[in-house]
């Protein structure tokens, strides 16, 4: 609309130009918000598995939107159709946008054909979190696992994604490994494609 003054009026969110995504907020703002997300969900559950599932759900919602956003902005409306392609998209593009850096590593599981792992020495969502003893193996990385699952699932690669702490020698804090276990049909079609 022309001539409505400094502030443009948009009737529809889709009419807005897509932002370049360079805006930032302080890390504390995010950390405090994330902490409220965890605390709120803690009031809604009575066990750790349930809490992780709810954090994963929240992450999934983020992942689904990030995929759509980044396919428009970074990839000229193209989406990866190959397993390795989508994995490196998560490990590089998605990670870089969300967490400001490429993930530390992306590896294929040695024991199982259908498992891949993304590892991060200090995952953003685990940075300000210390797990009380009585909460055992609870991992806020479940949120990041949800993001990964949201991206993969919506790109057509259904998987079960979980977050785990892996102790590292000589380091106080464990690293977070996000384990991706693809569903059978994904692996099947991946293998079909890989045959030369």
């Amino acid at each position: 609309m022309i001539g409505v003054g400094k502030i443009k009026q948009y009737t529809n969110v889709l009419d807005k130009p897509l932002s370049k995504g360079k805006q930032e907020v302080s890390l504390s703002a995010f950390a405090l918000l994330f902490s409220e997300l965890v605390q709120y969900n803690q009031t809604q559950v009575d066990n750790i598995a349930e809490l992780e599932r709810r954090l994963e759900d929240a992450g999934y919602a983020v992942g689904a939107r990030v995929l759509e956003l980044l396919c428009h902005r970074e990839k000229g409306n193209r989406r990866e159709t190959r397993l390795i392609g989508i994995l490196s998209f998560v490990h590089s593009t998605v990670w870089k946008v969300l967490f400001g850096k490429i993930a530390d590593s992306l590896e294929k599981g040695t024991e199982h054909e259908d498992e891949y792992m993304i590892s991060e020495k200090e995952l953003l969502v685990n940075r300000f979190i210390s797990i009380p003893k009585d909460m055992g193996a609870f991992n806020c990385g479940a949120f990041a696992a949800g993001v990964v699952r949201g991206v993969l699932d919506n790109a057509g690669f259904p998987a079960v994604v979980t977050a785990h702490f892996v102790p590292v020698e000589g380091q106080q804090r464990p690293r977070t490994t996000i384990l991706i276990k693809f569903s059978e049909e994904v692996i099947y079609s991946h293998l079909m494609h890989s045959i030369p």
Partner: protein
Amino acid sequence: MAPVAPRSGDAIFASVERVNAELFTLTYGAIVRQLITDLEEVDEVNKQLDQMGYNIGVRLIDEFLAKSNISRCVDFKETAEVIAKVGLKMFLGITATVTNWDAEGTTCSLILEDNPLVDFVELPYTCQGLNYCNILSGVIRGALEMVSMKTEVTWIRDMLLGDDVFELQLKLIKQVPEEYPYKDDE
């Protein structure tokens, strides 16, 4: 030691660690969606968002005071300016304009043109009455309560509801007298 000069919001924002605003925006969106699913009633969602904001405000004021070198504000006018120019800048990277003062100087409006909470958001018809950004008013209320000011913070205008800007009304209810330390040695 001479008092340290207060730092500008820009300087603090430039020096703190930052994250991509989209991560923040989308995470907030996920929270709101969870609340809508769990609580079903829009009013309950508003209340819960306000409560979460309050919890954040109570914690955030410490960091704010530590990093800004701002000491006691002389009056509510200064308080509002500090929120608009330093507080919002340092945490969200935005600033607001303060206007619409009443004669007593106890009520004013913060006008936000930019609001990182609402990127990619469109309120569906079923969410009329939802104050999507209610967390922010909670934050301000919680933070001010920690510096002895009881306030009422309400959304007057909301771009998601078709207004041209976001307008947040701050109303000073009362200045709580400082209570002296309960026990010095604690």
